[in-house]
């Protein structure tokens, strides 16, 4: 599996740490417990097919990336900087 980091280029997946579904990009604002936290921490669609996840390029530019990936074929379809996605210019 190779991941094309927008800053570093095509790299071995060993340079990256997968963090899980992109849900982790949207931390709830509530201070107390709410269903939003349950959604954020626990509940998942868990699709067999295309999914979007957070990956960390620890052995490269140390960026957080949003990776679109197929969980059945392991194909990597799209890689963006999480910061760009957050700013809405992806």
């Amino acid at each position: 599996m190779r991941i094309k980091c927008p800053l570093c280029g095509d790299r071995d997946s060993r340079e990256f740490t997968p963090m899980g579904h992109e849900t982790y990009m949207n931390r709830p604002d509530d201070e107390g417990w709410s269903p939003a936290w349950d959604n954020y921490l626990h509940l998942r669609d868990n699709p067999a097919g295309i999914t979007r996840e957070m990956w960390y390029h620890g052995a490269g530019c140390t960026s957080w990336l949003r990776v679109e990936r197929d969980t059945v074929t392991h194909d990597i379809l799209r890689v963006e900087l999480a910061a760009d996605v957050k700013r809405g210019n992806s």
Binding site: P18, H21, N46, V72, H74
Partner: protein, 416 residues
């Protein structure tokens, strides 16, 4: 037919022509009292105990592939009761006791071998943690012995005790732990369930769960619609997809776990060994192959195969622990889809839909759980009350903060 030594001799002398298929291959009926989705170890055990302990026999197990083709036939067969957490401790203890009577109960040789497990530790701190775990196991009524380095050396002289990075300080020895033949467990339960009238229906994929007015009424399958009073989800790695058919989301992400086996060798490893500092564990099968594995490939996957980095990682860990393994030739590797729950513990519970039950989140440890999972799930389905050994494996524990985090890592995906 009752299996016995006498049958083996009798059939052997008559050209082995008298053996009958171990279970029927029925067509699905229009309606059942209970439909179980998934013919893995847990689904088959559930059907068996429903029939045996609760007298329910109008049951179908629907399996999309073939019986035993899922994780039950892909795991590395370790059976143990060395959990420490309240709830898990009782549950796995219950399971090990069922294992100890399983072959007599099923009249089937599942090759359950209590060859012992040693969890190695490599620092003073880890020794303390393992001593504490051992005490918890004994408090639960199970067995544990704390071995020092010389104690380990006697059992496993081939390990590298003096490696500079992670020297071996000792190990926690759980003598009643061991292994079992995984396929035989599926087959034994299948045969037992079939003999009690359960329909085992293979190549029958569930494609929808029918709910009317908040109550489950049946399932849609690749072999037509089947009505059911109760539906029990038991799909391990596919739990997320099956739950989605009922509009549910589970606290589960599916990943892949790999395993490896070498060519057959003469007996060399008597027990099961886990490495306390690397992701590596190993045992030797009765055929002689060294069976070993490590950690999951940490990304979501339904591919039933892993990638090379984790394979390399496992081999490296194995080489540091027992350099002699480098002389063995690797024969095969494979993967299975793990239903990883966010706190690392399983779920056996009712759902918000009347008559729909969930059994999921087994992570990489559900083989040892097979008897207790089936036993407790059957109890829940038949009586609508949790079995006393599984009161804490609730679906709502995530939302209510009663998580069961055996390894104290946190309840978040990718920590387990």
């Amino acid at each position: 037919m009752r299996y016995s030594g006498w049958q083996v001799i009798k059939q052997g002398l008559s050209g082995n022509r008298g053996w009958k298929p171990a279970w029927r291959d029925p067509a699905p009926k229009a309606e059942y009292d209970v439909v179980i989705i998934g013919g893995g170890g847990h689904g088959l055990a559930t059907a068996y105990y429903l029939a045996k302990e609760h007298g329910l026999t109008n049951i179908a197990v629907l399996e999309k592939g073939y019986l035993g083709g899922g994780n039950v036939g892909r795991n590395t067969t370790i059976v143990r009761a060395n959990y420490g957490l309240e709830g898990n401790s009782q549950f796995y203890s219950h399971s090990l006791k069922l294992w100890e009577g399983l072959e007599q109960d099923l009249n089937y040789n599942v090759m359950h071998s209590q060859r012992g497990i040693v969890n190695l530790f490599h620092s003073d701190g880890q020794r303390d943690a393992y001593a504490r775990r051992g005490n918890m196991m004994m408090a639960q009524g199970d067995d544990a012995i704390l071995l020092d380095r010389e104690g380990c050396r006697k059992l496993m002289p081939f390990l590298d005790y003096d490696q500079t990075r992670f020297p071996i300080f000792g190990g926690l020895y759980h003598k009643r732990g061991g292994t079992a033949r995984h396929d035989a467990v599926a087959w034994g339960y299948a045969r037992g369930a079939d003999q009690r009238g359960v329909d085992l229906i293979q190549k029958c994929e569930v494609t929808g769960i029918d709910v009317e007015n908040g109550k489950v009424v049946g399932v849609q399958t690749s072999r037509g619609a089947i009505r059911a009073k109760k539906v029990a989800m038991c799909a391990a790695g596919r739990s997320g997809q099956v739950a989605a058919m009922a509009g549910m989301r589970l606290p589960i992400e599916s990943t892949v776990l790999q395993a490896f086996v070498t060519e057959g060798l003469k007996p060399v490893i008597d027990n099961v060994i886990t490495y306390g500092m690397g992701h590596f564990y190993i045992s030797q099968s009765d055929k002689g192959g060294l069976v070993f594995g490590g950690d999951i490939d940490f990304y979501a996957s339904y591919a039933s195969r892993g990638n090379l980095p984790m394979m390399e990682h496992v081999m490296e860990a194995g080489m540091t622990l027992m350099p002699m393994i480098g002389k063995a030739k690797l024969l095969r590797s494979w993967g299975g889809i793990m239903d990883m729950s966010s706190d690392g513990s399983p779920i056996i519970d009712k759902t918000h839909i009347d008559g729909l039950y969930v059994n999921a989140g087994w992570c990489y440890g559900g083989f040892k759980a097979t008897p207790a999972s089936g036993h407790c799930y059957a109890h829940l389905i038949a009586t609508d009350r949790p079995h006393e050994a599984a009161t804490r494996h609730r679906l709502d524990r995530f939302n209510t903060g009663r998580i069961m985090d055996e390894e104290s890592k946190g309840s978040q995906h990718n920590l387990h």
